[in-house]
């Protein structure tokens, strides 16, 4: 009996650490013995760099542009521990339609039935998370990914992007779209950051899957073109990523989130901003 392929999409605001997190999850799952493909859905095309010693790989769309047609195996490259790496790619900044590019790349793979042939356990889509247009919602609709996780810090803009993603998930939830597995809280080094993200999860009726602190180990490994799992396997940070990967591997049931309305989100952010300001004023007064 064929094993069940688990398709996961990881969204996050640009620069929030989504590719770092995704690559470490892929690396950890791979070390756990799973066959993994990481599919970068960001026109920057650098999702899989740390799985391939910092190297960029030819993207699906670049290949399509140059050759007119693409065979999937021309754009699949093996990375750390045999992880299959794919980058959708996109147009040059400021031209064309990146969203349509992602649709084109994902559809091309589906049409060629690559996923079945490779006998994969996991496909992890690493998607630019602002969900600015229908193209970036591609992995969460039409039954591609089943579970969505969002990487978010406690920064308001990051939470705003996560809330937008939740709106997208909610929209497609009635038509067989992916549901939300939870939030991967990133760069959580202070109690208030944890409190903010916990509160956001409670407000939107979801869960925090893992708290990942900011760590210089991650930076050191990335400068060597490696994930933390590869570069510092015994570090505390690697243990956190491994624990996260185990949770994702064990995750079975996702839910429809309850995103906040724009007004509610602003009020929510304003409430937190006042609390942080008050706390900082107290600490400054105390220091004097």
């Amino acid at each position: 009996m064929a094993k069940k392929l688990k398709q996961i999409a990881i969204y996050g605001k640009g620069g929030i650490g989504k590719s770092t997190t995704t690559s470490n999850i892929s690396a950890a799952l791979s070390k756990m013995g799973y066959k993994v493909m990481q599919f970068g859905c960001d026109p920057k095309s650098d999702s899989t760099n740390t799985l391939r010693k910092g190297e960029y790989i030819p993207t699906v769309l670049d290949t399509l542009r140059e050759k007119g047609s693409v065979k999937a195996n021309e754009v699949i490259f093996e990375g750390f521990n045999g992880i299959y790496c794919v980058e959708a790619g996109g147009p040059a900044p400021g031209v064309g339609c990146a969203g349509r590019g992602i649709i084109t790349a994902v559809q091309l793979f589906r049409q060629q039935k690559v996923f079945e042939d490779l006998d994969l356990d996991f496909i992890i889509y690493d998607v630019l998370g602002d969900v600015v247009c229908g193209g970036f919602a591609m992995p969460i609709r039409e039954g591609i990914a089943e579970h969505v996780f969002t990487v978010s810090s406690s920064d308001f803009m990051s939470v705003y992007a996560a809330n937008n993603l939740f709106k997208g998930i909610q929209k497609y939830s009635n038509s067989g779209g992916a549901l939300l597995g939870g939030i991967i809280a990133n760069s959580i080094n202070h109690q208030y950051s944890k409190d903010i993200i916990d509160d956001f999860a409670a407000q939107t009726k979801t869960q925090v899957v893992e708290y990942v602190p900011r760590s210089v180990t991650v930076t050191q490994c990335e400068l060597q073109g490696k994930t933390t799992i590869e570069g510092a396997p015994d570090s505390e940070q690697a243990k956190i990523y491994t624990r996260l990967a185990e949770k994702i591997a064990a995750h079975e049931v996702s839910h429809t989130p309850s995103p906040l309305s724009t007004t509610d989100l602003r009020q929510w952010a304003s409430k937190w901003s006042k609390q942080i300001l008050a706390a900082e004023s107290r600490s400054i007064a105390g220091a004097c």
Partner: protein
Amino acid sequence: MSKVIEQPRYSCALGAEQTVVAIRRAVPVLHSGPGCCNKITSLIGQGEAYAGGSTIPCTNSNERDVVFGGVDKLRSVVKGALQVIDADLYVILTGCTASIVGDDIDSVAQEFRSAGKPVVCAETGGFKTNNYRSHETVVNAVIDQYVDAHRAEGGVQKGLVNVFATVPYQDPYWNGNLAELKRVLDGIGLKANILFGQESGGLPEWKNIPNAEFNIVASSWVGLGIAEHLKKKYGTPYLHFPYLPVGGLETSRFLRQVAEFGKLDKKRAEDFIGREERKFYSFLERMADFLLEFRYGLPRRFYTILDASYAVGFAKYLVNELGILPARQFVVDNTPEEFRDEVRGEFAHLSDRRSAPVEFETDGGVIQQKIREDENKTRALILGSGWDRDLAKDLNADLLILSVPVEYRLVLNCGYAGYNGGLRVIEDLYDRVLGTYR
């Protein structure tokens, strides 16, 4: 919730390709998907002219052009068009896909212009608006990007006027109408730039647009956007005559307004008007015996399914000079809200004694249904399009095809504007009626 419209009598914004086709030695270059052009010309085109219809250069955008942008392909298609089509002006027009993706067509057109090539561009993505509006967009684009840089020398010329009266091909009789308007305006002492068609002077005439003493908009609302643009750009004043002048009374009224606005030699204008009226009515006098005997054979009332300019122009002519009374009047050009009161006002004062309510409706199916539900006790005339043939047949009505799609007529130089156009209306009307006799 979007609504399905049956048989709209106009095209999407890309329909302005026909505006370019109507300029002598001008070529549209479409940056659109394959097929757009054919769909448009099958609705609002008859004849490919110089480089229209299926001969229009087109990028035939596909998925790759969407993902990566289609600017490179557009550049190569324009380059090819410059090599294989001998023309004086090339007008890049975007279809839906290129407009959604946001291809920077301005920079492409600019590149060619910098190299001395006459290339201009306009955004005409089909979703943006209809071809009435985009006609104005395209004309203004040609003025801004071509005419302005090639303005004819000599400055403002006394008696030179630009005429904005019809949307070429959307008005199937545009060529004939413009030729007649030129004839009568020249007759009262003006030199009329009509800009489109065989009677126009082509691009040299366009280069003279800024030198006009004043502009004339002979249309309900289309063309006002151009006249306003020219007023701002060159300070050219304009006269707005809010319908197509058809027949003796209205053409004379039109010419008198123009003469007064332009402070023309009154005697010269009146001499011309007098000559034309005598000629116009002499044909009717000659046929007076027949017309009188046959008066009960004519339709008693008319339904209108036309754009605002034609609707008002024909209603005034039929009521005041032919004695046919208005039944339901439908204006189908999606008249912008701000111009509707003026159109209602014209219908409210068709003559001293006659008025007619007017309905603004773009759905041909709804209009036909309403006409079918009318009493229809007496013989009716339908002023509509080829799509109304079955309706006319079912109601035993006479159909005069004045609107697109024409389908069942070949149009060469026929026009219905002016004195000659008025006579043509009578000929064609009697032709339809007499054709039903055994």
